[in-house]
Symmetry: C2
Subunit: 551 residues, 2 copies
């Protein structure tokens, strides 16, 4: 199997163009039909595959880090009379179930990252729909903050998946229609069954878009809009951007080695071990010093590398069903970085890094793999880095050390970062979610902030699942991993998706929980993917034939 | 195919026994292994199939209506050393996908109805777990308000579905563990992968049960508990119960005729038409007079008949993918009943009827069929009855009348019942949900309470999807139905499940949205249902073999 690589950069883009004009950046989608990620389909009409989205994600992140001056992003199509036709159908119909699901997850996460640009980075995305925005094309528009629809006979928005393909819009469309744009439910029902979609003033009346504009008045109106949104942004005018160079990354026979992270995949046991390496230098003095370090700044390197590792493992290591999450390094140094990040949120760069970390741990949360945190001697789970422990399904801590091991005992230190600024998709911090049923445990954990907690103490406080000493550690960990790997991967995926998100729900949890699960179900149903199903029959001139029984 | 009948009564029960002792009723589960609903499996160890659950649902409803004096319900097992082994595995492995999904939906709804007994009827359910409560057995316990676990070597609670069967607990177990009992997430993870389950004090520490008690002290402790819960209940001491006689129901070649409801199923078009008939008598003067009418009281008859019709159509008419919802009768009479119900909530009987209506419309909400409300001349959508219009995916109202038709024009009247006391599963009223994005429309609708709204006015207010006059009505309705029936049933099921529940989420929406969708997905996966999957291999001595790829 060819390895899917999630790294790229603007000079390598096949499908996107970036232009800059002071506080306004223009991101132009101009998909090259011949440059699909794998052979077998043509990316006509600005339809996309995973490769197109990998470039988009790269662009979104560069706009945040390399362009602090950009306050408004215009998302436009480079094609005439078509904004975007959505995910490529031939690509979908030739893809495995795994690939379809993984593709949808990544595109969903990229849409979320666009929304974060507004929420965290004060960068407003404005989408200009010229021509058709169909399916994933409209879902891309839905991820932006403001949708301008050209008022002509050709421009429309639609979600034609159900009538045309017997599947659901795969990138949050239904949820964003009902919960973000709050379209009345019967109108949403009509809209989602209308192949040709909706245009003109009706699209505005139904809140599917924010405004329509005649083609002739477009550029002037965009000038007004970008000026208005730019005026409201607090992004710095004159800060220097931080370049994101290629990752320091080496693929080996059994994994990947990054500068702050080592990934080892055992094909034999089905366990991938991710070991985060703590900082080897002291934290810089302040935000400016951190920005001067640029992409070398340890937390940013870690974010980028962990992000890449998660995406790589999800896409390319399907049988690695368990990820064991480890750290090694000096907890004091981690805490110094933690303090810098936490206190320096006024600084745009530190703010971006923290926001990136928030997204990266959320990526862990929605990863369909069992996550086990193992805190061993020499580890450095502390502050923001401890969030990966709290993202795990289970966590174990080593009590004491083994004879002859001169590394420090495993310890855990909480900081303010664990109590609010890094929420899960449900809007709560991971510790609040963990202790939903025991406020007193939550308060005890909070009171223990800044204390160096031993394994025994962390277990008493309920911060880890269990603590074992050197007599039991190896056996306990081995038995747990062996047992886990013997279970059905699908059963585990469903179970984890439900157990990880107690408490409140948000648009984000709805998309990854409810909507994704229904889509996955439909992606298994003969009416969609069977020989006579809609995906294979699409474009053949032959109608799909459906089993009419409702489930 | 044999028709599944949801009607029964205690003298016909195969699996349950009811005993009464003043304010305490005891519901004893004692499943007859030989009395499965269909041949092919034995219901050993108090395992259950749909037939067992149909009787349980009947018992729950009779406890509410026939026994106003019952304040506490003890749920016990009639078997030695086993409480309940959950859904019968052989039944599951021989069932069609449709049946499995429909079975889980009904059992879920019955568990919700048990929870409503506490919330609405002030009847506390106490579950006594003697022996194993495994899978659906523990899920049944989870639906009660208080779980007592015998402290011995045999009594335990478990959710062994993932390790044993490669499926999820199908009756809300995961969600109730995390959201109702708020078990810490890593403990929930351990619990849900532990075949043998958890017993004794650990079950209390982890909040899986409320208390443990030694077998020798059990009856004394139950005496204390029931006295305590009974003391807190406001149910009346001396009211006469309302008997629930067999339904006035006749199956015909193309449907079912009830006293307040006619159901016609067109095999040809795939449309089932449900016509509710308004009251033919004036409403009684007050709650006592209503209770004196007993099961003849029009709203109660309607509830029971609509409830039965929904369950019948779901289970027995799988290809009827569209339900067209109609009413006919005198709106003024409906409104008189509405006023009686709404103002008489202090009366236990009216309160029970209203609560039953709330549950019945919720059953519509989670029904996997397209719901279309058609308000024609002579119809009586008003007050609480209009909720079935607001439950529909789309609604059309006839403007004016056809020449020669001497029925009254279609009209709609809102009442206080539409603004709070009949919430959806998301906790909001259907109108609040409808107008989530337009508070001004919500306020306008509220201001129009008690007004007789014409089709045009109702459409202006956004209360119906559209209004058509006699020139367009037939074509518009026909085209809409034809188009709908041409779509993939699975696509529609997924779409409707997402569009119907905007806004906040609750444990109930999580169970029917997120959890159900994941379970349905898993029920399609070879690892669970394939030839080498866990469901078919269970009990054969041969291990299931799994495709290890994570999705």
């Amino acid at each position: 199997m060819v390895r899917i690589d999630f790294q790229t950069s603007p000079e390598l883009y096949n499908h996107w163009k970036l232009d800059f004009d002071g506080p306004v950046a223009t991101v132009t989608m101009d998909v090259d039909p011949e440059s699909g990620l794998v052979p077998g389909y043509e990316l006509k009409l600005n339809s996309y595959d995973l490769g197109v989205d990998i470039e988009l994600y790269d662009a979104v992140m560069r706009l945040k880090f390399e362009h602090p001056e950009v306050k408004v992003v215009l998302l436009r199509s480079g094609k005439d009379k078509v904004f975007c036709a959505g995910a490529n159908i031939r690509m979908l119909s030739q893809s495995s179930h795994n690939h379809k699901v993984n593709f949808c997850k990544f595109t969903n996460e990229t849409r979320n990252t666009i929304e974060v640009a507004q929420d965290d980075s004060d960068q407003t995305w404005v989408c200009v729909v010229n021509g058709t925005a169909a399916g994933g094309g409209y879902e891309l528009a839905l991820a932006t903050d403001y949708i301008v629809l050209i008022d002509d006979n050709a421009s429309s928005v639609s979600l034609p998946e159900v009538p045309l393909l017997a599947v659901l819009p795969g990138t949050g469309g239904l949820t964003r229609v009902t919960d973000k744009r709050k379209v009345r439910r019967d109108r949403a029902d009509i809209f989602c069954t209308l192949e040709e979609g909706i245009r003109g003033s009706r699209a505005v009346d139904w809140r599917l878009v924010d405004e329509t504009v005649k083609g002739s008045a477009l550029e002037e109106r965009l000038g007004e809009l970008t000026a208005e949104f730019a005026g409201k942004s607090n992004r710095p005018d004159n800060a220097a951007g931080v370049k994101l160079p290629p990752l320091d990354r080496e693929f080996t026979d059994d994994g990947v080695r990054y500068s702050t992270l080592e990934v080892e995949v055992s094909k034999e046991t089905g366990v991938a071990t991710l070991t985060v390496k703590g900082p080897t230098q002291d934290a810089p003095a302040d935000g400016d010093a951190a920005a001067a370090e640029g992409a070398e700044f340890w937390p940013l390197r870690l974010c980028r590398e962990l992000d890449d590792a998660i995406l790589h493992l999800r896409a390319n290591e399907l049988t690695a069903g368990i990820w064991s999450l480890k750290t090694e390094g000096d907890p004091a140094r981690v805490l110094a970085y933690d303090a810098l990040l936490e206190k320096g949120q006024e600084n745009w760069f530190l703010h971006e890094v923290f926001s990136y970390w928030k997204r990266t741990v959320k990526r862990l949360d929605v990863t369909s793999r069992t996550l086990i945190a193992l805190a061993e001697p020499g580890s450095c789970f502390a502050g923001f880095l401890a969030e990966i422990m709290f993202a795990a399904d289970r966590s174990f801590m080593f009590e004491g050390t083994e004879e002859g091991d001169n590394r420090h005992e495993a310890e855990l230190t909480l900081s303010a970062a664990n109590f609010g600024p890094l929420p899960m998709a449900n809007g709560l911090s991971r510790l609040e979610t963990r202790f939903l049923g025991e406020m007193e445990s939550f308060e005890s954990a909070k009171a223990a902030t800044s204390q160096t907690l031993s394994a025994v103490r962390a277990a008493e406080l309920g911060l880890v699942t269990d603590a074992f000493d050197d007599i039991d550690w190896d056996d306990e960990v081995r038995i747990m991993l062996e047992e886990r790997i013997s279970f059905s991967p699908d059963g585990l995926t469903g179970m984890e998706a439900n157990l990880r998100f107690p408490g409140p729900e948000t648009m984000e949890t709805k998309i990854f929980g409810r909507l994704t699960a229904w889509q996955n179900w439909i992606f298994q149903r003969p009416n969609a993917v069977g020989e006579d199903g809609a995906l294979l029959k699409y474009g053949t001139g032959v109608r799909a034939s459906y089993d009419k029984k409702r489930v």
